[in-house]
């Protein structure tokens, strides 16, 4: 089977209201606690106000991460991943269409999934490629796959970013435990720290499907064990950030079934 290239995480940046600095992110990454709540929107002081005004909270968080000095953005391709994007904007557009029969041109112009990285590229006067992905619960897997495909294609560095914000009030019943508004960007480069692997013959302990997908069989673990293992398999974008920041983490399941995983080589076993 053709394999994905080995890679390393290089620079990173992240924004959430209750996370003041990189140290706060690092210590969060070492633990298992959820991201703390916060209401404040990202300031994005580095962006010209005339462009910044077009972004909603999720977009502002993403822009803050892209502008962060720690990321040192230098014209790399950007892979922008968001489950909901700026859904508050889409909802407002639909409501105004229903109530008044017309929509705001300004809001409409921003109502595409790649609008936020596009706004950043306009501000940067950059023509670097942008890919915009949306996915439900395998967002991190989709983003990593795209990033590694670009590295395999010869790109020397790629920015993989994720952002999302809680759904607007009207859509809250559809929420299933989304985190507070956050965004982060990680730079992936060819390297020898990590690899995406597929378990062709996964052991039950490492590859457990959600309980509803399991047919009765004497070979499968007890329901209790399934639930415990499934709850450990967290393929969310924030779990990927934890993996990137905490080098003691050795494996990250990227699918509910945990058949696709990121692995980090121990320093002594690295190829180079």
């Amino acid at each position: 089977m053709a394999s994905f290239p080995e890679f390393s995480f290089r620079r990173w940046s992240a924004w959430a209201a209750a996370m003041p600095d990189a140290d706060a992110w690092r210590s969060w990454a070492r633990g298992d606690a959820p991201l703390p709540d916060g209401e404040e929107a990202a300031a994005v002081k580095a962006m010209p106000p005339l462009l910044r005004r077009r972004a909603r909270p999720a977009g502002r968080a993403a822009l803050d991460a892209l502008y962060a000095p720690a990321l040192a953005y230098d014209g790399q391709p950007i892979i922008f991943c968001s489950r909901n994007g700026e859904l508050d904007r889409s909802l407002a557009l639909l409501q105004s269409l229903a109530a008044e029969g017309q929509v705001s041109p300004q809001e409409f112009s921003m109502s595409v999934h790649n609008a936020i990285p596009g706004l950043f590229q306009i501000a940067q006067k950059s023509r670097a490629p942008v890919s915009a992905l949306a996915s439900e619960n395998q967002m991190a897997f989709s983003g990593i796959t795209e990033a590694l495909a670009q590295l395999a294609d010869g790109v020397p560095s790629v920015i993989l970013m994720f952002c999302d914000a809680p759904l607007p009030m009207l859509l809250r019943p559809f929420m299933d435990g989304e985190p507070p508004c956050f965004a982060y960007a990680v730079e992936l480069v060819p390297g020898h720290d990590c690899r995406l692997v597929h378990n062709d013959s996964p052991s039950p302990a490492k590859s457990v499907r959600a309980p509803r997908a399991i047919a009765p069989s004497q070979h499968i673990p007890s329901t209790h064990a399934i639930e415990a293992a499934a709850s450990q398999a967290d393929p969310s974008p924030l779990a990927l950030l934890r993996f990137a920041l905490d080098e003691t983490r050795r494996a990250l399941p990227l699918t509910d079934a945990a058949d696709w995983q990121l692995r980090r080589f121990a320093p002594e076993t690295r190829h180079a």
């Binding site: 106000p49 005339l50 910044r52 005004r53 705001s104 041109p105 300004q106």
Partner: protein, 87 residues
């Protein structure tokens, strides 16, 4: 055309276009609204067109040369609104 209308239009521009950190006093009455002056773009022009329609019942044609002149500055816009408003 009155100073009140001038300020009203400046407020409309700020609110309609989400101009952060811009106050009525920051907008020069005779400065260009687009490009070099306030720095607005073509999407803002469309947005302002919708707002002027809602507030004053004006219908601006995106293609017409007069529209370009009406949008030249807040003063030009105020002259036009004062002369042509239907509400």
């Amino acid at each position: 055309m009155t100073p009140e209308l001038i300020d009203e239009l400046k407020t409309l521009i700020i609110e309609t276009l989400n101009l952060e950190d811009v106050a009525v006093a920051d907008i020069e009455t005779d400065a260009p609204l687009f490009n070099d002056g306030l720095g607005l773009d073509s999407i803002d022009a469309l947005e302002l067109g919708v707002a002027l329609h809602k507030r004053y019942g004006l219908t601006l044609s995106p293609e017409a040369e007069e529209t370009r002149q009406h949008f030249a500055s807040v003063r030009h816009l105020a002259d036009y609104v004062a002369a042509s408003r239907s509400r």
